[in-house]
Symmetry: C2
Subunit: 336 residues, 2 copies
Amino acid sequence: MAAPLADRPAQRGGIEALVSLVTDDMERVNHVILSRTGSDVTLIPELANHLISSGGKRLRPMLTLAFAGLCGYSGDGGVKLAASVEFMHTATLLHDDVVDESDMRRGKLAARMLWGNEASVLVGDFLLGQAFKMMVEVGSLAALDVLASAAAVIAEGEVWQLSAAKDLATDEATYLGVVTAKTAALFAAAAEVGPILGGLDGRERRAARAYGNALGVTFQLVDDALDYGGVAELLGKNVGDDFREGKITLPVVLALRKADDAERAFWSRTLEKGEIAEGDLDTAIATLRRHDALEATIGRARAYGDSAVQALDAFPDSPMKRALIDTVAFCISRAY
Amino acid sequence: MAAPLADRPAQRGGIEALVSLVTDDMERVNHVILSRTGSDVTLIPELANHLISSGGKRLRPMLTLAFAGLCGYSGDGGVKLAASVEFMHTATLLHDDVVDESDMRRGKLAARMLWGNEASVLVGDFLLGQAFKMMVEVGSLAALDVLASAAAVIAEGEVWQLSAAKDLATDEATYLGVVTAKTAALFAAAAEVGPILGGLDGRERRAARAYGNALGVTFQLVDDALDYGGVAELLGKNVGDDFREGKITLPVVLALRKADDAERAFWSRTLEKGEIAEGDLDTAIATLRRHDALEATIGRARAYGDSAVQALDAFPDSPMKRALIDTVAFCISRAY
């Protein structure tokens, strides 16, 4: 195995320490989220709350609160920006489900299956509008700049992914570019606005951004490995989604480097042409395992996780800093 | 006829006076639009420019420039906010086409027919992100507030329209609520940011908003009448779109008030159930004409146009003010 279990960081508190340190503020974030999805057009709260109440870890808004706290900020702005970040994320999920034609999201029927693609597109737009309204209320042009830029970069990353889909020529650099844009940009922005609120515009701001970016890549790489069952051959509900959608993720990019002609023909038929027969997902997983592609993907995730931890050197030791270190370990441990 | 031709305002210069007064700034707006749709992800400029280059009157960005000029502002901010307004509008069109499953837009194949629904959703999101980035660059929190609120209200109006679609119980108040939100909100915001840039935060700002709002309703009501051929029985390319999509627009709302049982059954079959046979559009148009519903719709448009003109009382006479009065007449004259 490329990355033996012994090499992985001690898991310590997982994500619990972070959750517990921001728990009061997250309750206020949840309150803001509920009140800002309110509308006389009842379809909006129905659809938005279907997705929002179905959980998710709320990692992104917690990053905003954590870095605001780390920089000594304790005003209302953190709660509003955290809620904005979660709205941006939710809007992306709604639009992604339409783009990917997904049936399920977070173990429930995707909103588009219950209310149609039209409502998913428009409620996503509504949440994006509400997110920007809240950011404006906070009144920091620097924070607005960071989050508006992230919105453009995320969409650019999604279009890039669409252009690269079903293309076996996608290389690791292209893949990482897509991931940095479509996933890590929001993690980076969520973290970066914390120091901005705290009035720390130099080293701490750059460090928060670097942490968020690296954590975002870590998170996505682990997700990609989990979509093929992860290193521990977990069989979660979403195993095989990327495969069925023809997404060329890092495990496939790495396995393609070592592929013989028969394997290349297999990936071409399934991912490029979308001709997927019974048993093909098992073959895909077996092929990825034979080339240690899932372990190698987690190895990359681990390296990004290390840079996330290093970025925190800009901050003195504190319970919050330790919780953010644990969060990196938590993201990697999901693969096992 | 409810609104005889003799009653309509003299058309004077139509929209040409406005176009000519903002022509230099609009060239800069077009330059900004082209540069801000640039991306290494080539699908983005391809798709965005397909729609942007296909024309449209650019009424909304011209409003921003006109009211900025009317308030003595001549800085760069007007050009950037005007381009932001056009991006918000373009994003709405891209998402609308997906929601309405439209085949055509501005006489060309809709972007979604050429690049797919996925790309239309995501490039719309990209343009929205770029719009907010530009607004942030201008640095006016008041203008950001106005435009971010408009973004949320527009999406809310679109969802509202979706909820009311195919529902013959839609009344005039509901219909006007939808139109105010989905169409007039952007006209109002586009106009309102002009005085904000000019540092006029009181009477002029409220007047600009009132003008934009009333002009937006005028514009949409005329559009709705044109979708059934207008008063002059024009047969443009888009005649019948609303009918085929089951949209309950004002002409239908007004005709339903006078409908007998057979007519009510006709509207229910075609608009509510979507069972449309050959000749039904002709029947719909004949029914609307029999009840003077198109003339009555234009009568409402004319009343909104009058309030738009009245709102301009807040400004002293000037060529720009006269051009904005002519613009109202132009919007109404489209129906003839």
